[in-house]
């Protein structure tokens, strides 16, 4: 497995009596995209800010590109980080080029003008370099902000709500850019509310609600922690077999015509249910394991009130 470029260990941050993030441990490797999902106030932005060295954790630690981030070396650590903030935060009276040129100079890059050209080409905005930032559409502003975050070629990229408020075409473009970062070997940590997007781009998803509720691949999350669902089609009326199918501990089901829909504690319980039905004399026509949607998994983790 490639090296972990971003590691958080038992990261906790309180604001007075309120705990914004509690005991968060995760890592992002080179060439990996990890997405943080969670309701508003779940601590995603606070986590981003701690990882970016903008605020310090109350306890726990952040390691960026092998450097343990402290108050003393945060300025140095930020060289390894590209942060896309929730709002693009461009200087709207200045041209796109001047916006990026300022950041190239701040990062102390050699030949800043050339670096700006490269960054603009990367986000497909070479022809808009001299436009005022304030005159760009929201999608284009977001692309400029991404170019700004990447201008110094950071190994760790943090993207806070990268497609929030964008039209589908712009969002698609931004998603392609994020996937490109992954292919280029960057470690990418994304924060989003968009479940479909998280599923489309992520290698792993971290579900967060102050503390880490789950961290796994999208497929494993759908299959995993909160059980499995199976639809079993039998000959005749299914309702007479419902009690038999519920013999497995924790199984809950419903019958509809010839179909039994069973929620089971784990996918491994499916053969047990089928065996019980067959033993009891049911003629099983079809067994159809159903995959839960990421939305169902997410809501079961954070609660529907989220």
């Amino acid at each position: 497995m490639p090296a972990a470029l971003l590691v958080t260990e038992h990261l906790t941050r309180s604001f007075g009596a309120r705990v914004a993030v509690r005991d968060l441990s995760l890592s992002v490797h080179a060439g990996e995209i990890v997405t943080m999902l969670g309701p508003n106030g779940a601590g995603k932005t606070t986590t981003m800010r701690m990882v970016a060295g903008l605020i310090l954790p109350t306890s726990g630690r952040v390691v960026i590109n092998q450097l343990h981030l402290t108050a003393d070396n945060a300025d140095e650590a930020r060289r390894s980080i590209g942060l896309l903030t929730e709002a693009p935060g461009l200087w709207e009276r200045l041209s796109v080029r001047m916006n990026l040129l300022t950041y190239a100079r701040l990062q102390g890059l050699p030949n800043p003008a050339q670096q700006v050209d490269t960054a603009l080409a990367q986000v497909g905005l070479s022809d808009r370099a001299h436009d005022l930032a304030g005159r760009l559409s929201k999608g284009l502003k977001q692309r400029v902000a991404i170019a700004r975050a990447l201008i110094h070629h950071p190994p760790v990229v943090l993207l806070d709500e990268p497609t929030s408020g964008l039209d589908p075409a712009s969002a698609r473009h931004v998603r392609d850019l994020i996937l490109g970062l992954c292919r280029a070997g960057r470690a990418v940590l994304v924060s989003t509310h968009n479940l479909a997007e998280a599923e489309a781009i992520s290698d792993r998803i971290a579900v967060l609600n102050t503390r880490l509720l789950a961290l796994d691949t999208p497929a494993a999350l759908r299959q995993g922690a909160s059980g499995a669902r199976v639809v079993i089609e039998v000959e005749g009326d299914a309702s007479r077999w419902l009690a038999t199918a519920s013999v497995v501990a924790g199984a809950v089901g419903a019958a509809d015509a010839s179909r039994l829909t069973m929620n089971l504690p784990a996918a491994g319980a499916i053969p047990d249910v089928v065996a019980a039905l067959v033993t009891a004399g049911a003629r099983v026509v079809r067994v159809m394991p159903e995959q839960r949607s990421l939305e169902e998994v997410y809501l079961s983790l954070v609660g529907t009130g989220a």
Partner: protein, 275 residues
């Protein structure tokens, strides 16, 4: 935090950006430009306008003659003048204090705009996510307004002198080019501007819009106005020694404000409270 290890290329990057933004936002400098005229007009109104309307010279009306004569010991530059020229030179020196308001007003207008503007455009967080240190940010946010304020103040002084050349009695305008004016415009002016800037930046860190920051910052104008009015009412003259003392006091005030400013400009404070 210390000033050692300050990366000037980063300070310059933000200062250049601020200057470019200022060039594209002439509205921000309107209060400062108005102040230039506000500082020039009273002097010329009293020294030239009023006598012209009254149809007699200052010397002829007997106004300010005693005060002008008494001021010779404090302003030796005017000692060689007599009559109307002496009174004119005395009054131009007295009114020159008003020009200290130019760098103050310019500094406040630009500093509050520079800091609050970043807040309002949500540009601070990405800026803070760079290797830029908070001291560098503070220095950068002070540099452009300071350079502009001092340049504008010197420009106003130049206009003042040119105006004197055009309308005052012969020999009057040369008196303004002495050590007293150097102390006032070359030393005290920039120091007062720097103090106003730092106060504006500190106030901006607690205010959410430019107007309220400027209103709070305008308290800086008060002491200068009080001295000016007291000077006219009591017709006393600020001696060079008093200017030196004021400059030293201003220097100490600036050191204290820098100490406070660096603490106010904590990254975390900026991110969490500057909303």
């Amino acid at each position: 935090m210390s000033l050692r290890g300050l990366a000037w290329h980063r300070v310059a990057a933000v200062a250049r950006k601020d200057a470019a933004e200022l060039a594209r936002n002439p509205g921000a400098i309107v209060p400062a430009v108005l102040m230039v005229f506000g500082s020039l007009i009273p002097a010329f109104l009293v020294v030239v306008g009023a006598p012209m309307i009254a149809g007699e010279t200052l010397a002829g009306s007997g106004e300010f003659a005693e005060e002008a004569q008494a001021a010779v010991s404090t302003i030796p530059e005017i000692a060689h003048l007599t009559g109307n020229a002496l009174i004119q030179a005395f009054l131009f020196h007295q009114f020159s204090l008003l020009q200290l308001l130019v760098p103050v007003v310019a500094a406040m207008a630009l500093a509050t705009h520079a800091v609050i503007g970043e807040k309002q455009s949500k540009a601070l967080e990405p800026l803070l996510a760079t290797p830029l240190t908070t001291v560098e940010l503070l220095a950068a946010k002070t540099l452009t307004p300071l350079v502009f304020s001092v340049a504008l103040s010197w420009g106003a002084t130049l206009l003042y002198v040119v105006g004197m050349m055009l309308v005052a009695e012969p020999g009057v305008w040369q008196t303004i080019l002495g050590p007293r004016s150097f102390l006032m415009f070359g030393v005290l002016g920039p120091l007062v501007a720097l103090a106003a800037l730092q106060i504006s930046v500190i106030v901006s860190s607690r205010a959410s819009d430019a107007r309220s920051a400027q209103q709070l910052g305008s308290l800086v104008i008060l002491p200068i106005t009080i001295v000016f009015v007291a000077q006219l009412m009591g017709a006393y003259v600020i001696a060079p020694a008093a200017l030196v003392m004021s400059a030293l006091g201003c220097l100490m005030l600036n050191a204290m404000l820098l100490w406070v400013g660096v603490r106010v400009f904590e990254r975390e404070t900026i991110l969490m409270r500057w909303k």
